[in-house]
């Protein structure tokens, strides 16, 4: 009974915390300059959080070591940008310069976002059929290979009428084009990213805590036992792969919205490695860990450490700080985390109010103990 009460309280706490976060965000967006780098980093951070959580669903919860995330983001980004691009732009000369665009339709933001996920999921379903029968490392290298093949395919000249070949896609509906429904007022872009990512992550969390999520974890822990207990390995692996790719597709679409342009060349293996590092830093098997890590990762990589690149910041006449130093420092930090904190920030635990309460209780106890002069409690 007490437990149930606690659970209710926790849910209330979570709801209040989330609401507070969104309100703070809204206030920040309304009062601060929209071009502040803080927002840029937050937007990219939350987009990466989604793809990191989707990768965690595969790698952390289902135990499938897949390295194809960049490929599915690529599909999502292309689907979104092609579908949401106004027909006038498609028929014009400004984007499809060398090809006649073959896609004569234009969709709104939400249908395009969802279709981006769906198409990525369809590709995943097809790729999963052969690939998911492979084991660990082989699966990793095969999915990585498929991502590379996808990239080559999207850059192929013959695909030009659809993908614009290897050239940039732009002038589609980016973050600045999001309107509050039924009005013409711009939706605060950072809030929009948080909302979409938040909903997607919430769905993933619900899935993980459902019967199917438990089946995924069973597969991760022991495939043979899972199969013996009636869990169809292939069906569940495929399901996890498809769902993960669906959300990777959506996150790719949001990345497209965020960066205004899409080009296949950016979705390289290095991008998958980045996402994988986020997952590892956050803790394999922890959704909250992935979220926290993605903000830290993006902020460090693209903001906080930038001062290391500026030679004007050199002290003592040493010429250590110059362009590239930031990346060296950053990779050393990553190595330290990987070697010494191999469980990541959160390990496989999740954020929970119970732990916070326990922490404060311990803190209080300690304080009380030190006040009372009794250190050995």
């Amino acid at each position: 009974m007490d437990l149930r009460k606690d659970k209710k309280k926790d849910m209330l706490c979570t709801a209040v915390a989330l609401a507070a976060m969104f309100i703070v965000l809204l206030v920040m967006e309304l009062t601060m300059k929209s071009t502040s780098i803080l927002f840029t980093v937050m937007k990219k951070g939350v987009i990466y959080a989604l793809v990191a959580v989707s990768m965690n669903l595969l790698n952390g919860f289902t135990g499938l070591f897949s390295l194809g995330q960049a490929g599915f983001m690529l599909i999502g980004a292309y689907t979104y940008s092609i579908l949401s691009m106004p027909v006038s732009v498609k028929m014009g000369e400004s984007v499809y310069k060398y090809y006649d665009c073959a896609i004569g339709i234009e969709l709104g933001i939400f249908p395009s976002l969802i279709l981006a996920g769906v198409i990525a999921a369809v590709f995943a379903a097809l790729i999963g059929l052969p690939v998911l029968r492979l084991k660990s490392d082989y699966l990793a290298i095969a999915t990585l290979g498929f991502a590379e093949i996808l990239r080559a395919l999207f850059q192929w000249d013959a695909m030009g009428p659809v993908t614009n070949g290897a050239n940039v896609l732009r002038q589609y509906k980016d973050l600045t084009k999001v309107k509050i429904p039924f009005t013409n007022i711009q939706f605060p872009p950072t809030l929009f990213c948080f909302l979409v990512s938040g909903i997607c992550i919430a769905i993933i969390v619900l899935l993980i805590n459902s019967s199917y999520g438990r089946a995924f974890k069973a597969i991760r822990d022991d495939e043979i036992a899972a199969e013996a207990m009636g869990i169809n390995l292939f069906k569940h692996k495929e399901m996890s792969f498809v769902i993960s790719s669906f959300f990777a597709g959506i996150s790719g679409a949001m990345l497209a919205m965020f960066q205004y342009t899409v080009q296949a060349a950016q979705f390289k293996t290095a991008m998958t490695y980045e996402i994988l590092l986020i997952v590892v830093i956050g803790g394999i098997g922890s959704v909250t860990g992935s979220c926290i890590a993605s903000f830290l990762f993006i902020a460090c990589n693209e903001w906080w450490l930038r001062f290391l690149d500026e030679s004007s910041n050199n002290i003592l006449g040493l010429n250590i700080l110059r362009s590239g130093f930031r990346k060296v420092v950053f990779s050393i930090i990553i190595m330290i985390i990987v070697l010494f904190f191999s469980k990541g920030i959160m390990g496989d635990r999740e954020f929970s109010w119970a732990r916070i309460r326990a922490f404060f209780a311990r803190f209080k106890k300690k304080a009380a103990a030190s006040e009372g002069g009794e250190p050995n409690v």
Binding site: F39, K44, T261, D309, S323
Partner: protein, 390 residues
């Protein structure tokens, strides 16, 4: 041990945060010019040479008088890593630094990707050598002081057909790179328009084996090898052409106008011809003083590729800096919006020739491209007659 490490990591973060907070100060007497250039990635080399021009110009004129008040010019450099996905945050960093105007980038793709961030902040951007039409097309905040790919492609096609007298050209560009891809397309259009014939191929990212491409060109009996790719790939292509003893000349756009190419071609039996923005020797006093400046600092020398050849992009960077100063003077303000208005009518006489912008997209009005040929004996460029079109 672990706790200590965790503490160190946490402290690093805090220090980093503090450093960030501190760096975005703006003084009443300074004006900030942002330089949006790659220092790493595929276009790192070119970006660095272009940045050198701006740095040199800044050392020549570190202050500017705007509206009767003297400002110190602070140049804020940011590395966009030649990558579209890093471009928005790099651009936001510049916006955060309170730039009045932004220069760059080398490579059109990142310029297009970073552009909307500048637009949102109301900061004008001036492309220095990004030649893809899409950078400025249909927007009013991106300007540029160089010629465009369709022009360059036409010039090169004319040169190949008329001057070299060939009728079959081999074109090679990098897969997924819109600069080389675009230029090759325009070249093919123009060349076939003249009555020539083209063989077109692409190589994938990270490729360093050009044997087959050169062999293909030889097999197809092409009279010229057109490959306006990055200097990294260019070295390998030159090397391979020499190794296979191919007799056709190499032709390329502005990217190949670099001492890296000269070094690669030096002492070899190969003919390399490029179109460019600025031929070394056109302005002797500029050349000698920038050479002295480059030689005076080992970092600069390294960034310029190890010698003091003046790349066209460096000269363009130099002009861009003064163009930006002129625009601010004309605006009489450091406010980005006013600078943006003033840019439309700003004109200067730079070392690369007179610069003025057209009124549709804010592109430079240029109808002359310089043509240079590598002197493989001495490792220098020989200027040929400039080509004027339209």
């Amino acid at each position: 041990m672990k706790k200590a490490l965790a503490l160190v990591l946490a402290l690093t973060m805090i220090f980093a945060l503090a450093a960030c907070g501190g760096s975005s100060k703006s003084d009443a007497n300074t004006v900030t010019i942002g330089v949006f250039e790659p220092a790493s990635g595929d276009n790192g080399a070119g970006g660095k040479q272009e940045t050198l021009g701006v740095q040199y110009a800044n050392s020549v004129q570190p202050t500017v008088e705007i509206g009767g008040k003297t400002y110190n010019v602070v140049v804020k450099y940011v590395d966009n890593e030649s990558s579209n996905d890093k471009a928005p945050s790099a651009a936001a960093e510049l916006v955060n630094a309170g730039c009045s105007i932004v220069l760059g980038s080398y490579g059109s793709g990142v310029s297009i990707a970073g552009g909307p961030t500048f637009e949102a902040a109301g900061i004008p951007a001036v492309g220095i050598t990004c030649t893809n039409p899409q950078v400025t097309e249909g927007n009013t905040y991106y300007f540029r002081i160089c010629f465009l790919d369709p022009f360059q492609g036409t010039v090169l096609a004319n040169y190949a057909y008329n001057e070299l007298g060939v009728t079959k050209a081999y074109c090679l560009n990098k897969l997924g790179d819109d600069y080389s891809g675009g230029l090759v397309k325009y070249f093919i259009d123009a060349f076939e328009g003249l009555g020539g014939e083209c063989v077109h191929e692409e190589f994938p990212d990270g490729n360093s084996d050009f044997t087959s491409y050169v062999a293909n060109a030889k097999a197809a009996d092409c009279g010229v090898f057109f490959s306006p790719v990055s200097t990294e790939a260019a070295q390998l292509i030159i090397d391979q052409v020499v190794a296979q003893g191919a007799s056709f000349p190499l032709l390329a756009g502005d990217t190949w106008d670099s001492n890296v190419i000269l070094q690669a071609a030096k002492g070899k039996d190969v003919q390399v011809t490029v179109t460019t923005f600025y031929p070394e020797g056109a302005d002797a006093s500029f050349d000698s003083s920038i050479k002295a400046w480059i030689n005076g600092n080992s970092t600069n020398l390294a960034n310029n590729g190890g010698d003091d050849t003046v790349a066209a992009v460096t000269a363009m960077g130099y002009d861009a800096y003064f163009f930006a100063l002129a625009a601010m003077q004309k605006a009489g303000s450091t406010e980005p919006a006013k600078v943006m208005d003033a840019l439309w009518s700003t004109e200067i006489n730079g070392v690369t020739g007179p610069i003025a912008l057209d009124q549709t997209n804010g592109d430079a009005i240029r109808n002359t491209a310089f043509v240079k040929q590598a002197d493989t004996a001495t490792g220098t460029w020989i200027a040929l007659d400039p080509v004027t079109v339209g």
